[in-house]
Amino acid sequence: MKSFLNGYTSFLQRVLTLLMGLMIVPVFLQVLSRFLGIIPRYIWTEEVARFCFVWIIMVGSMIAVRDGSHFDVDVIPKPKRFRNQGIFQLIRHIAMLALAGIFLWYGIDFAKFGFAQNSEMSGINMLSIYFAFPLAGLSWALFLGEKIYQDIRVIRGDPNPKLRL
């Protein structure tokens, strides 16, 4: 399971890099077309850029759940005892899982809603963009499942919780 999740993460990282590089192209074409006098043929560029944009955000949010880098605020100090840290993390991860569940459940409706539409300029089926939302919910849930499993091991007193899974 762990190697599957590692593989999935590195796949997401590659996708993120690729999308960022790709997103530069349409916007730059748009600038070029203005100055070279090739007028609006390039309206689709905005749509391609937006497609990359939404996917960058959602893929980035998945990776950030895995490496725990979504910003949080340190108002209350973290507990000192190892076991209490586990409980603390468990609460945090279960709360995040709740939002993952919402994104997965309602995201499927949202994706169906997208399937019924095609974009005006480029004719892309909107499912290809809307699908990012339920997929994000599913991926967060996968990554959070791994974390919750580790938290429970910590609470049970496993000395090396990160080594197994």
Binding site: M20, F53, H70
Partner: protein, 433 residues
């Protein structure tokens, strides 16, 4: 449900989740859920729909591009070039490296739109150098963090792009309005360095010759024209802010890849990845913040707030101080961009009701939120600088507080004398006013 009840539930749930260390972006989304489930007209489907609508704004594309441009400039070694230019210009003043730190922050602020890139790039170069020369670590960290806030005030600025896009204010106008307060911060900070240096006997560099100055100017000239391209391009109507951000990316990629040859094909993907990931984390938070803000507006919370406050004071100055205070408080706890989305849209009707100029309102907001970058518990620039200087955040706080005093004075001046910031856009771009 009444606006008061809705606000109490949403803010209550949000605060509770934040205290439990739930990430801000997730907490904002989760705080919407109870209301979306309780009210029969609403469903959690709307959370996703509102997020999607917020991402559909072409202007937000500028956020990842400006971050990418800043990171490319950092990896291209622009910072080193700016440091040698600053050394030749202000290095001979008492507390040389402190002044260099402030001046590089100012120059870099004109190139990038992000304060965190500023703190990371300059800090990793100058904090070790300052420690070596005998500056106190606390002071080195504090001056790096505090001067990096110029990144969001001096144009181009990611915060202003988002503000302008969200509240339909001219971004060119905002950029021009940021010039004077940005330059004043640099002057105030250098004054503070001078006082520190005199009392603590910090070292100085030998004065550079005019030839050395010209040489270092020549080495950094390509970097220094960036603000002219970006700000000039937007103000002059050559391109939109999003297009300007992509032009900045291409320009810095050419500088790093071809002119200076410091970014090879191996480094490029990692710069892409790091910029995309950081942008995605803050943009994700923008999404949930937008849903949160939309829900508050749906229940007319902003209007209720205006009605409540207008009973007390109605002058521009009192409203300005009230606005600044709200942004200062929220900025301590959450990132600036979600703060703009939530609080900016709540306070906009209030600012309009007293006849405050939209650009004045925006600059008060941006300067107040800039404090949030260096105030705990959530001050990204402070966190970055402390981790570079390898000291605990609590240790740097005293010097940070001292250096923030001049910034506080500047905020007060901005509130009381709107013409100080408005004259420049009025003069150069009257069509936007």
């Amino acid at each position: 449900m009444s606006p008061g009840e809705v606000a109490a539930i949403m803010l209550g749930v949000f605060t509770f989740l934040i205290l439990l260390h739930i990430p801000v972006s997730f907490a904002l989304g989760l705080a919407c859920i109870p209301i979306l489930l309780i009210d029969p007209r609403l469903t959690p489907f709307l959370l996703i729909n509102e997020m999607w609508k917020s991402y559909n704004a072409f202007i937000l594309l500028a956020v990842p591009f400006f971050l990418l441009a800043a990171n490319l400039m950092n990896s291209a070694g622009i910072t080193e070039r700016l440091v040698s230019l600053a050394r030749a210009t202000v290095g001979h003043l008492p507390g040389g490296l402190g002044h260099i730190n402030v001046m590089v922050s100012m120059l870099f602020a004109g190139i990038s739109g992000s304060s965190t890139a500023d703190a990371a790039g300059i800090g990793s170069l100058l904090i070790p150098a300052m420690k070596k020369q005998g500056y106190d670590t606390e002071f080195s960290v504090a001056i790096t963090a505090c001067s990096s806030v110029m990144g969001v005030i001096i144009p181009p600025s990611i915060m202003m792009v988002v503000w302008g896009g969200l509240m339909s204010v001219s971004i060119g106008g905002l950029f021009l309005a940021g010039v004077v307060p940005g330059a004043l911060i640099a002057i105030f900070m250098m004054g503070a360095v001078l006082i520190y240096a005199k009392t603590r006997n910090y070292p100085i560099y030998q004065r550079a010759s005019f030839k050395e100055f010209l040489q270092s100017l020549g080495k950094s000239i390509f970097a220094l024209v960036t603000p002219a391209i970006i700000v000039g391009g937007i103000v002059g109507g050559l391109f939109t802010p999003t297009e300007a951000s992509v032009v900045a990316v291409i320009y810095s990629a050419i500088l790093g890849g071809i002119v200076y040859r410091t970014i090879g094909p191996k480094e490029f993907p990692s710069v892409l990845y790091n910029s995309a990931r950081l942008a995605a984390i803050s943009l994700f938070c923008i999404g949930t913040a937008s849903a949160f803000g939309w829900l508050l507006a749906y229940f007319r919370v902003p209007q209720a707030l205006v009605d409540f406050i207008s009973g007390y004071g109605t002058s521009i100055a009192t409203t300005g101080f009230l606005i600044a205070l709200s942004f200062l408080v929220i900025g301590m706890f959450i990132d600036a961009i979600p703060a703009i989305i939530i609080l900016g849209t709540i306070l906009l009707p209030l600012a309009e009701s007293v006849g405050m100029h939209p650009i004045h309102f925006a600059i008060i907001g941006v300067i107040s939120l800039a404090f949030g970058l260096v105030t705990p518990p959530y001050g990204l620039c402070l966190l970055i600088s402390c981790s570079i200087g390898e000291i605990a955040v609590s240790k740097a706080l005293k010097d940070v507080a001292t250096l923030l005093l001049p910034l506080l004075i500047l905020l007060g001046l901005t509130i009381l004398f709107p013409e100080m910031i408005l004259f420049l856009p009025r003069w150069l771009t009257p069509q936007f006013m």
